[in-house]
C-alpha cells in the first residue's frame, strides 16, 4: 500500500528508467516513482496489478511484473494492442507515466514456504508469474524444488529471454522451455511442443507441490487436466484471471465473473475457485 490520497483515481507519477523489448510487440518498462515519499512507501505483493496511464490516452491494466524483493522500482510488461498501449509504447526513457495501485489480492507466498513449486506459463502470461518466481528465488531456501515450464508460439514470442537464460544456468531451478511446433529455429536448445504436452512429459511430482499457472484461456483449459493427471488437487493449482478492468477498485462494474470482482477478489484464484465461478471469462 501507499500514502492514501483522497482522490482514489489519481495516479502517482513515475519515470521510465529502462525499456526492454521482449518481443517485437511486447515491451518492459522499469519505473521509478518521482515523489520520494511514494518511492519509499510504495509496497506490493506478487500477483497485484496496477493501472498505468499514458496521459491523453487513458489507463491500461497490467500486473506488477517485478518482485517486491527488488526495491526502488517496479516493472510492467505489455503488448501494444490498443490506443493506450500504443501510446505507452511511444514513450521513451525519461518520460513520465501514471501508476495507480497496487490493487487486488496476491499469491499466498507464505503458504508456499517449504513446498515444491511448478510454474506453468504461456506466451505473454509469464509476467504475473515472473514477479513470484523472483520473489521465491530471492529467498530460495524457503522453498523446495522449483520447476518452470514456459512456452510460446515461437522463439521470438518468448518474453524475458535474458532471464530464461539465467534460470537455465541455475542449478536450483529446473527450466523447461518450449515453443509450439514450427516455432523453432535450427539453434533452438529447448523443447518443441505445446505447453500442456511438455508439462505432461516433464511430469513434475505433485507431492507437497503447488502449481502456479498463467496463460491464454486455451492453454489453461488443456493444462488443468494434465495437472489433475499428475495428481494435483484443485486447491493446489493457483492461477490468475484476466478481465477487462477500469477502476481496479470494485466500483466501475466491469470486471465481474458472476459475483466475483476480479479486481477485488482476484486476480489470483485457485483452480477450485475458478471452477466454482460461472464460466463467463
Amino acid at each position: 500500500m501507499c500514502i492514501p490520497d483522497k482522490n482514489i483515481y489519481k495516479p502517482y507519477l513515475a519515470t521510465i528508467e529502462n525499456i526492454i523489448d521482449e518481443t517485437p510487440d511486447v515491451r518492459t518498462f522499469r519505473l521509478v516513482f518521482q515523489d520520494e515519499a511514494v518511492r519509499d512507501s510504495f509496497s506490493f505483493r506478487s500477483g497485484q496489478f496496477a493501472e498505468y496511464s499514458a496521459f491523453g490516452y487513458g489507463e491500461s491494466t497490467f500486473c506488477i511484473a517485478s518482485s517486491p524483493t527488488r526495491k526502488g522500482y517496479i516493472e510492467c510488461c505489455f503488448r501494444s494492442v490498443g490506443r493506450v498501449t500504443e501510446a505507452l509504447r511511444r514513450l521513451e526513457i525519461g518520460d513520465t507515466l501514471g501508476v495507480r495501485g497496487p490493487y487486488g489480492n496476491s499469491f499466498p507466498i507464505e503458504a508456499l514456504y517449504g513446498r515444491n513449486l511448478v510454474f506453468v506459463a504461456g506466451g505473454i502470461a509469464l509476467p504475473p508469474l515472473r514477479t513470484l518466481i523472483w520473489n521465491c528465488l530471492d529467498q530460495r531456501d524457503k522453498f523446495g524444488e522449483i520447476t518452470i515450464v514456459y512456452g510460446a508460439r515461437t522463439e521470438d514470442d518468448l518474453v524475458y529471454k535474458h532471464e530464461l537464460k539465467e534460470w537455465q544456468e541455475r542449478s536450483d531451478v529446473n527450466l523447461v522451455k518450449t515453443v509450439d511446433p514450427g516455432g523453432n529455429s535450427d539453434t533452438w536448445d529447448g523443447r518443441v511442443g505445446f505447453v500442456p504436452t511438455i508439462l505432461e512429459e516433464a511430469a513434475p511430482k505433485s507431492d507437497n507441490c503447488v502449481a502456479l499457472v498463467c496463460g491464454p484461456p486455451i492453454m489453461i483449459k488443456f493444462t488443468l487436466p494434465v495437472l489433475e493427471k499428475l495428481g494435483f488437487s484443485d486447491e493446489n493449482i493457483i492461477t490468475t484471471l484476466e478481465n477487462r478492468m477500469k477502476c481496479g477498485l470494485g466500483k466501475c462494474g466491469r470486471c465481474n465473473v458472476g459475483n466475483v470482482y476480479v479486481c477485488k477478489d482476484g486476480p489470483v484464484f485457485t483452480a477450485k475457485q475458478v471452477k466454482e465461478m460461472p464460466q463467463e471469462f
Binding site: 482522490n7 496521459f55 491523453g56 487513458g58 490498443g82 477487462r244 477500469k246 470494485g250 466501475c252
Partner: protein, 334 residues
Amino acid sequence: MPKTITEQNLQALIDLLVKEGTRVVGPKRADTMVLYAPLTNGAELDLIELPRRSAKETFFPLCEEILSYEKKDGKTSVTDIDLDKLPETVLIGARPCDSAAPGILDAVFSWDYNDEFYLERRKKTVIIGLACTRGDDACFCTAVGYAPDTKQGSDLFLAPVEGGGFSVEAVTDKGTALLARYGGLFQDQAAVSPLPVATPTMAKLDLARIKGWLDHNFESDFWKEIAVRCVGCGACAFICPACHCFDINDEGTEAKGCRRKHWDACGFAKFTNHASGHNPRDVQPQRYRNRIMHKFKYYDDKFGKTLCTGCGRCIRACPVGIDIAALIEEISKK
C-alpha cells in the same frame, strides 16, 4: 405540531436558496419532458410529471472530471479536482424511487475505497423527497420493497395535501436543520389530509425467491428467450437511478487535458471486450443476464441490497419493450 408549506412558499424557498448560492436541483420542464436539473428560480419546479431520467446525476454526474494533467517543459504534473468547491445542494421533489437509490449506491462507492466524488456530493446534498401521487403503468416500487410514500433516503419529506400545499416531515438531522433555518416559510397545522398516493398494480415480489432462482440458473435458456430482442442500446442503464457502471477516459492532448469518469452500461457490446479481442460476454443475452444478475443477485451477494427501486424508467425507455418488472415476476414464479 405537524408542519405544512404552501406551493408559493415552496417556490419562495427555492428562490431563497438559489439567492444564497445553493445549487437547487429539481424536476424542470425541458421541451417535451421533465428532467431533474438545476433550477434558477422556484417557478421552474414542475412536480406533476415523473422526471424522465433519474436523480442520480446529482451525486454521480453523467460525465465528470476527476483530474487534469499538463506537460510543460518536459515535466508532467497532475492536478486534483478541488472537491471543497462542490456546491452545497438541495435536491427538491425527488420521487421515493429516486431518493431511495443513493442509499443503495452508497455501499459500492464507499466499500474498501471511498469515491469522494460521489461521497462528497452526498454529504453536501439535502434531499427533499416528494410523496408520489401520480404513477403510471410502468411503476412497480411496491413490488421491490419501496412505496410511493417511502421516506427512505429523504432528509425532508413532502406529501401533497387536499386543497394544495404539502405536509412536511423532517426525516433526518439535515432535514430538521433545513426546517429550522427556513422556519418562517412553514406553517403549523394540526389536521391535514394527504392526497392519496399512487398505487402500482404489481403485488410485492419475493426478492429472496428471485435471488434463489438466480443463484442456480446462470445457465438457463430463459436468458436467450428474454434477451434476444435487446439491441444493447444501454438506455436502461443510463436512465436507471441505481446503475453505477462507469468508464474512465482521457480528454485532451498529450500536453494538456483531463481525465473523466463517465457512465457506461453492461449492455454495450464492447463493455467487457479484452484488448486481445476476446469478449467474455460475446452475445447480447449474456449482457442482459448480467444486468438482471447484478441487480437482483450480485449486488445483494456483496452489499445485501437489490439494485432496483422499481421506478419503471427502464421499461418506459426500452426501444424494444423489454419489461424488467414482468421478467422478475416471471422468475419469482419459477
